[in-house]
C-alpha cells in the first residue's frame, strides 16, 4: 500500500485528487494540506512514501518545500502551467516526477507507482518516461485478488451490487447453489475474508465491481 500526502492550496483540486487516488486499490491518501509548511509539519507525524505537491502555492512555492523535505518523502510535482523552466527547477530541488494538471488520472497513478518503486522520472527523457509509466499502469492487485478467476470475479460483481443470497446468485449464473458456495469459499480464501459481506466490501474497494 502506497501512502500519499497531497499539498495544494486549491482545496477542491486536492480533495478531488484525494478521492480519486483513494479509489486505487494499491494507494491510500493519508493527508491533504494546503501549503508547503503544512506538508512538512504533516509528514513529521504521518509518514508517506509519496507527496504530490502543487508548484504554485502562496507563501513559499512548492520548490523550496521539496528542497526542505529531503529524504522523508518522494515528491511528485503537479503544475497548472507546466513549463520546461519549472520542470528544471523541480528536478534540481529533488522532485521525482513533474506533471501538468492536464494529464489523465491514470498517468499520475502510474507515476505514483513508479516513483514509489524507486524510479526518478525527472531524470528520464520524455520517451523513456512514457515507457516506464506504461509498465506501471496496472495496479499491483492484492496478491489474493490477482489470482481470482473469471467466474469468481463475476460472482464478486454480483455480490457488490447487492445480489447476496446464494439462490439468487445461482439463478443469475445458471449454476447450482452448491457451485456458488464453492466459488464463494475460494473467494473468501483468496481475499482473506470470512463472509460475503466482507467480500462485497473488498470487491468495491479493489475496484473489481463498480459500486452502482
Amino acid at each position: 500500500m502506497i501512502r500519499i500526502m497531497i499539498a495544494d492550496d486549491h482545496q477542491l483540486f486536492a480533495e478531488g485528487l484525494s478521492q480519486a487516488l483513494n479509489s486505487l486499490p494499491d494507494a491510500r491518501v493519508v493527508g491533504v494540506v494546503n501549503s508547503g509548511p503544512a506538508l512538512e509539519q504533516a509528514l513529521k507525524t504521518q509518514p508517506a512514501e509519496i507527496s504530490i505537491v502543487d508548484i504554485e502555492m502562496p507563501g513559499g512555492d512548492g520548490i523550496t518545500t521539496i528542497d526542505a523535505l529531503g529524504m522523508r518523502t518522494r515528491a511528485i510535482v503537479v503544475s497548472m502551467y507546466a513549463s520546461d523552466e519549472q520542470k528544471e527547477r523541480a528536478a534540481r530541488a529533488g522532485a521525482r516526477g513533474f506533471f501538468s494538471k492536464a494529464v489523465p488520472l491514470t498517468t499520475l497513478a502510474a507515476a505514483v507507482r513508479a516513483v514509489a518503486d524507486g524510479k526518478n522520472l525527472t531524470e528520464l527523457s520524455d520517451e523513456e518516461r512514457d515507457q516506464v509509466l506504461e509498465t506501471y499502469r496496472e495496479a499491483q492487485l492484492d496478491p489474493g485478488a490477482a489470482s481470482l478467476t473469471a467466474r469468481e470475479r463475476e460472482i464478486l460483481q454480483l455480490l457488490a451490487i447487492g445480489v447476496s443470497a446464494t439462490d439468487e446468485l445461482a439463478d443469475r449464473l445458471y449454476i447450482s447453489q452448491k457451485t456458488v458456495k464453492n466459488h464463494l469459499a475460494s473467494i473468501f480464501q483468496k481475499l482473506a475474508v470470512s463472509d460475503r459481506t466482507q467480500a462485497a466490501i473488498e470487491a468495491i474497494r479493489l475496484g473489481i465491481a463498480r459500486p452502482s
Copy 2:
C-alpha cells in the same frame, strides 16, 4: 439524484472532482469533458441538471459556452483565479454559481444541491449565499436512511468497514448480540434490504460510512 457534467481542460482536476462528487449519495457525474464545445455536444445525448464549468479553457472560454448552453443545464463556474470581474461576466452569461477552486468540496457540493433546487447563487450577496449554502450542506438522504437512529448508523459504519459478524459487532459496541440483531432488523427494514451484505453496500453508497 442530481446528474452532473464536468467541463475542465485540466483532466486531473476533472477526474478527481468527478470521483469526489460521485461519492456523494445524492449526486452522480454523468460525463467529464475537456472543452466548451465538447460540453455542448455531450449534453445533447446525456442530460444533466448541473454542469460544472472551468472558466479558463482553451478554445473559447467557459463564458461563451455557458451562454450557448442556455436552458439545457444549470452552470456552476469554477475558476483558478477568481476575480470579481470574472464573476460578473459569468453571472451575465447565465451561470448560477461561481466558485474559486480553493473552496472545500463540501461547499461545492452544497452549491450543486442549491442550484439543482432552483437557487441562483450569483444573484445573492456573499452573506446570503453562505446562508443558503449552509442549508444545503447535508445531503438529502433516502427517505429510509434519513430515519436511521444514531446507534443504527454506528452499526452501519462498522458493517461497511468489514465488521460483519454479530459477535464482533456486539464486542465493539459493548452490547449483547441480541441487541445487535435487533438493530440490524430495523436497519434492514428502513433501508429495504434483506441482509447485512446489502446493508453494507447501501451504507457505502449512501455515504453513511466512508469506504475506509
